[in-house]
Amino acid sequence: SQTIHQWPATLVQPVGSPLSLECTVEGTSNPNLYWYRQAAGRGLQLLFYSVGIGQISSEVPQNLSASRPQDRQFILSSKKLLLSDSGFYLCAWTLGQGRAYEQYFGPGTRLTVT
């Protein structure tokens, strides 16, 4: 069966510090991968998605970036965090080819920027 991992689970970082969140998927190959952010009391915002290694699409211009160095690895980064980057970050995967709306989410990373 497929599983998705995210780490760390929680993170407290000062403003201006760098960020690296990692997501890995097991049990499938060539998945579509997604990064979402959910601010407190808000809906989910799609940040990035990737349909293959090295292929990244950005949905929201901001100080975040994403990379996919391996087929089942997706990394979210920032060089300098802002207070507004605080939130719940979720990674998700899906199989494309018509089933792309059936997404499976990881446990998430709670990021607090102080």
Partner: protein, 111 residues
């Protein structure tokens, strides 16, 4: 992606059937209707997806009228553990899987 409108919140009691309606007047021919459930501090969970008429699985039923301008998620005999936010999404699955989540409907199940 078609814009959706759903109630912000709903209350129910244990054992009742809950129906959450989603309006999507601008749904396109190729669009599917998908529902997700989200518990606090967890990622959303796929519940059900449909194109027309009725779809049923072990968790819920999805009713879609002929004009497809709305849909209703039906949860049979809810329990306290069904308290969650329910999202209605409309769009074509395609290959990219871009999902646009709205505010969803917060369902509160009371004892």
């Amino acid at each position: 992606l078609a814009k959706t409108t759903q109630p912000i919140s709903m209350d129910s009691y244990e054992g009742q059937e809950v129906n959450i309606t989603c309006s999507h007047n601008n749904i396109a021919t190729n669009d599917y209707i998908t529902w997700y459930q989200q518990f606090p501090s967890q990622g959303p969970r796929f519940i059900i997806q449909g194109y027309k008429t009725k779809v049923t699985n072990e968790v819920a039923s999805l009713f879609i009228p002929a004009d497809r301008k709305s849909s209703t998620l039906s949860l049979p005999r809810v329990s306290l553990s069904d308290t969650a936010v329910y999202y209605c999404l409309v769009g074509y699955p395609g290959n990219t899987g871009k999902l646009i989540f709205g505010q969803g409907t917060t369902l509160q199940v009371k004892p």
